[in-house]
Symmetry: C3
Subunit: 138 residues, 3 copies
């Protein structure tokens, strides 16, 4: 069994943003030389997500509006977590969108349906944050 590990770093210019990281993850799989296995991709921060959905800007605007409806950013006073911070909403949004994805690797490639794309979902950005890629297989 082989294993591979890499950190991907991001620094978004706005508080909330969705970045397509599919190409970076595929590059990790190629570097790993693993042909058959599983690839874990997870946010290393608890106010960010890694998820799989469509790379369509209308949908991303829908996600933004929908998540703001489910867990509004403001007023900051609505969250007990915000005694010392202002990111209580980001911890909740990340639960809806998820921390991680596990992807199949088949013949050295992401084994994906035609529209699957991997996103880094930032909910408390404007600073350097990390995603972990861990691959095991053969």
């Amino acid at each position: 069994m082989k294993s591979y590990r890499k950190e991907l770093w991001f620094n978004t210019s706005s508080r909330r943003e969705f970045l397509n990281i599919t190409t970076e993850v595929q590059r990790c799989i190629e570097e790993s030389k693993i042909k058959e296995g599983l690839c874990l991709v997870n946010a290393m921060h608890i106010t960010a997500s890694v998820f799989i959905n469509d790379d369509e800007s209308g949908l991303h605007q829908d996600f933004e509006v929908w998540l703001e409806g489910l867990a509004p950013e403001k007023p900051y006073s609505r969250y007990k977590h915000n005694g010392y911070e202002d990111n209580g909403d980001a911890h909740l949004k990340r639960q809806v969108m998820g921390r991680e994805v596990v992807c199949a690797i088949t013949q050295g490639k992401l084994d994906f349906g035609p529209w699957e794309q991997i996103f880094y979902g930032e909910f408390d950005g404007k600073r350097r944050k990390r995603v972990l890629v861990k691959i095991i297989g053969e």
Copy 2:
């Protein structure tokens, strides 16, 4: 290390439906001859889910009502994604229910609690769609 891959195909007669796929997944594990490992089961489409919960029809009606409350199908105009499509709600519902499950395999079987059952959750059906089963182990 061994690996195994199979696609399961579904075509639901209604837009939204929950199908119990536990038996099909267990059959994959038997075919794989893997006794100890991990089994990834994921929707290959971004308007469908794979999740684990109870096989109880009252609960499935509760899921339907609850998800319609969180991300209503109509009016279609409420989603920017629906410029060319009418399935914006399905992309959101799938985020709540999740894309995938990772299951332990122990002694050649799904290592489950007494009530755990695997479901395919369709949110934009009436067409052929796929689930991927990928198993690694020994």
Copy 3:
């Protein structure tokens, strides 16, 4: 490839509770002697979650209020699942928070960001329930 399996048992004194189980999971990894691999941690019950977020009591109170808003416990009559039971809300809350986490193991340790902690999320407690830890790797 090595594999390892362990059940962790919990019995919360209230219906809903969040327990930090990071130390127990790290202990499993040490017992497994696996240095590089993947660690699945999942609730074996369908009214409980395993998730990763912050160990901060204000945030946990925010989770409680937020989940009660999304899927209220009462009136019990609001859920069809509650014909024979009173835990319909717990099945929904667990979907928001998730069934499982998959964690990377690197150099024999949980490969985590600085604030990541693993929680058992109980939504229908006051009885003995289980979490499964399954590790594969080398």
